[in-house]
Symmetry: C2
Subunit: 141 residues, 2 copies
């Protein structure tokens, strides 16, 4: 059926490849991470190491939260905090050979999903925008 | 057909009502807006006036961008900048009696949409999450 064919479509054609994904490296300062987020305009990006393994996700909210003092936002601390200490280490993954069915379940609660290959290396991301475009095509088929 | 019925479903049942939408008031400082974003955890929220008219959308990225100096992020300016000067005034709307068909077209490029009633007053928001849940139900029907 058209529905079965759609749900069993592999996600591989829809992944934004690793080289196009804005990210921050582990060990970088929270200030550097904030600059990357501001300049790329993305609200949340992966935190990777030099071997392209995923360590977490970081957002402006997580960074600001880490410097929220009792009286004021303690901006002077940003240069001295590592992104490792603000990031969310709980990352939901898709595997490179997963199907749209699996992706659809996960994008309900995640704006984007990190995709890993068979070695567990970061291969790219799958976004809600890409899934929504495919869903619209499917509906109008 | 099942598809026509789905696309012609009014969005009214799926709107997150205005009283549940985190927002910032026009005239507030950028610092206050940043605290609202950090504490509610949302990456972008509407900017409203006391009559519940929408003036724009604001995010941490827009706020940080407004204080990005040549040498450093100029945090001391935050208390003196109004959210009015950082926000994006270009807001895409849905009307309260629009259908899922219209919403589906717009959520491809917007994580959420502001919904207005017949007086042009802010009625709530429609999110990608809600549309994705309805799309999943439709597929599995
Ligand atoms: N530079 C840009 N050009 C055009 N449209 C833009 C854009 N930046 C944001 N948008 C729009 O806003 C949505 C939410 O972006 P956000 O940065 O909050 O959330 C993004 C961001 O956290 C992440 N993301 C997307 N592309 C990325 C990339 N190339 N590198 C790193 N992270 C990315 O995935 C989330 C969902 O992305 P998605 O495309 O579904 O949804 C995006 C897209 O529809
Ligand atoms: N407190 C929370 N509890 C559970 N899940 C959470 C959450 N905060 C964020 N999420 C998850 O992360 C997605 C992206 O949130 P974000 O804040 O970037 O982007 C949000 C935010 O900018 C706005 N938004 C959603 N609910 C809002 C509310 N009650 N007030 C103000 N803005 C809201 O609409 C965008 C899309 O929301 P959507 O629900 O589709 O998608 C949300 C949701 O799946």
């Amino acid at each position: 059926t058209k529905t079965r064919a759609f749900l069993e479509t592999p996600i591989s054609d829809f992944i934004i490849p690793a080289e196009k994904v804005a990210h921050v490296l582990v060990g970088n300062s929270a200030e550097h991470a904030l600059l990357v987020l501001t300049k790329t305009g993305y609200s949340q990006v992966p935190v990777l190491d030099t071997k392209f393994r995923i360590h977490g996700l970081v957002s402006s909210k997580m960074i600001t939260e880490s410097i929220l003092g009792l009286e004021r936002i303690e901006y002077e601390k940003l240069a001295h905090i590592k992104v490792d200490d603000c990031m969310d280490r709980n990352v939901t993954y898709l595997k490179i050979d997963d199907t749209i069915q699996r992706a659809l379940d996960l994008v309900i609660n995640h704006a984007f999903l990190c995709v890993v290959d068979h070695e567990g290396t970061f291969a790219g991301i799958l976004t809600r925008r890409v899934i929504l475009k495919q869903l619209k095509k499917y509906i109008y088929q």
